[in-house]
């Protein structure tokens, strides 16, 4: 009785809603995932050359970092709206906006990762006759992976959340369901779509963490405390755990 009534009663949690609208929920989730995935992949493909450029030509570093930070300051709704004349009501608009946002985080982290490569490792590789391409691909990139993956995880999680704003042009994945539910105050739909959104972000984060573990098996052998040098045991208070 209560399962039939929960749609009519507009309950927050409603099994009947999940059953009767499962196809709608799946479609929205699929749209959400592909928009996020395409955006992050393009973001990575654009950020990488930018980071390399900023590194090899220090004169570019300032403008590249400044521009990406500037883009990050622009609110998402405004960003999508500014792209409207260029793209119309399309997924391309949302993806372009999301790519521009991800650049800030990705470029910064790739640069930080490349900077963290020990000079000795580079010297050794050069001494062994590695050319610049091979040095980058086989030495620098693997050593930069932890910072790069940290950036990728932050960018992905933010992108999952930001995709909802794409509902302004009807391409917001789960955001569309939230928007559709607003005029009728449809609580179950708003809550379900919101929870799915957060779940997507968590799953994406864990998946990328798994990928990082697979790609950098050597980090698991190293003692865990190598990254902990900041919270040196000072004073009476206990050291902080896991900052960063």
């Amino acid at each position: 009785m209560s399962t039939q009534g929960c749609l009519a009663a507009n309950d927050w949690i409603c099994g009947e809603y999940l059953r009767s609208r499962s196809q709608e929920l799946i479609d929205a989730t699929v749209q959400h995932v592909w928009i996020t995935a395409v955006s992050v992949v393009i973001g990575l493909l654009v950020a990488f050359p930018l980071a390399l450029l900023a590194r090899s030509r220090p004169t570019f570093a300032g403008p590249v970092l400044g521009l990406t930070t500037l883009l990050y300051t622009i609110p998402s709704l405004a960003m999508f709206s500014l792209l409207l004349p260029l793209f119309g009501l399309s997924a391309g608009l949302v993806i372009t906006g999301l790519v521009l946002y991800s650049l800030t985080i990705l470029v910064r982290n790739i640069i930080a990762g490349l900077e963290s490569v020990p000079e000795e490792a580079r010297e050794a590789a050069r001494g062994m006759g590695y050319g610049p391409g091979r040095l980058l691909w086989e030495v620098e990139l693997p050593l930069a992976l932890p910072a790069l993956m940290a950036g990728l995880r932050i960018a992905t999680v933010s992108t999952v959340a930001l995709t909802t704003v794409g509902s302004i042009v009807g391409r917001g994945g789960l955001g569309n369901l939230i928007e559709d539910a607003l005029p009728s105050f449809f609580k179950a739909q708003v809550l379900t779509a919101s929870v799915l959104c957060v779940l997507l972000a968590v799953v994406a984060d864990l998946l990328l963490l798994g990928v990082q573990r697979l790609l950098t098996p050597w980090t698991r052998i190293r003692p865990a405390r190598t990254s902990r040098r900041k919270a040196a045991p000072t004073g009476p208070a206990g050291a902080v755990k896991a900052v960063g």
């Binding site: 709206s81 932050i154 902080v240």
Partner: protein, 230 residues
């Protein structure tokens, strides 16, 4: 490029600036909710972060709250408030949402700033006989200042952006110009609204950077790059 010209035309039409849904009214709403929310967020986050940083506890909370803040969509939180009884209480749902999203950057940056104060400096201050309070006010606070300001800047940018999204759930603010433009298929108005919002965000960021330069207690440290917690 025609659209940009039309958007400019929209912006230079006096009638669009006056009245109950004019630019001035929307700007006023935007600044009001943003200001109240930022003040509340500072009042909540800074004492907690500074205290936790001073006693050196609660690191996991300070860091994780940032990750949670990133994963939760602003639009979803606003929508949840708008389908709850809160929707009948004016701009309260927006303000609560803005506070929720302004707290994480403030808390995390202020906490990390406190923890990154050089331990040797703290030891020296203690050795000079400073009390916990003196240590906090004269040593830790000035040294943590750059990161506290970084947190304030990210929080402000976040608040201005979130206040814009509030328009998507029918709340006030400059975002309403954008959503109204979408509803009437008026692209020039959408672009004009977006330009206003972007300008406001950049202006807020600029003002805070300038303010930072003026009141920084240790200008030599101002060159530190603004950082994201990796």
């Amino acid at each position: 490029m025609g659209v940009l010209g039309e958007a400019f035309g929209w912006l230079t039409t006096g009638a669009n600036w006056s009245g109950d849904s004019g630019v001035w009214r929307r700007l006023e709403e935007h600044i009001f909710v943003s200001g109240v929310a930022l003040a509340l967020a500072c009042a909540i986050a800074l004492p907690i972060a500074l205290y936790l940083g001073h006693i050196g506890k609660g690191g996991a909370l300070a860091i994780n709250i940032s990750n949670v803040g990133r994963a939760v969509p602003v639009f979803a939180v606003l929508a949840l408030f708008m389908v709850s009884p809160l929707r009948n209480s004016g701009s309260v749902p927006t303000i609560i949402a803005l506070v929720l999203f302004a707290v994480p950057p403030l808390l995390t940056n202020a906490y990390v700033g406190m923890r990154e104060v050089d331990s040797a400096v703290v030891e020296a201050a203690r050795g000079m006989g400073m009390s916990g309070r003196q240590l906090f006010v004269r040593v830790e606070l000035p040294l943590a200042y750059p990161l506290i300001m970084t947190g304030l800047r990210s929080a402000s940018v976040q608040v201005v952006a979130t206040a814009t999204i509030a328009a998507m759930v029918g709340q006030g603010g400059l975002g309403r110009i954008i959503t109204a433009g979408f509803n009437t298929y008026n692209t020039p108005q959408v672009v004009a609204g977006a330009l206003l919002v972007a300008l406001l965000a950049l202006l807020v960021e600029g003002v805070l950077v300038a303010l930072d330069r003026v009141i920084d207690p240790a200008p030599s440290l101002a060159a530190r790059p603004s950082r994201t917690t990796v």
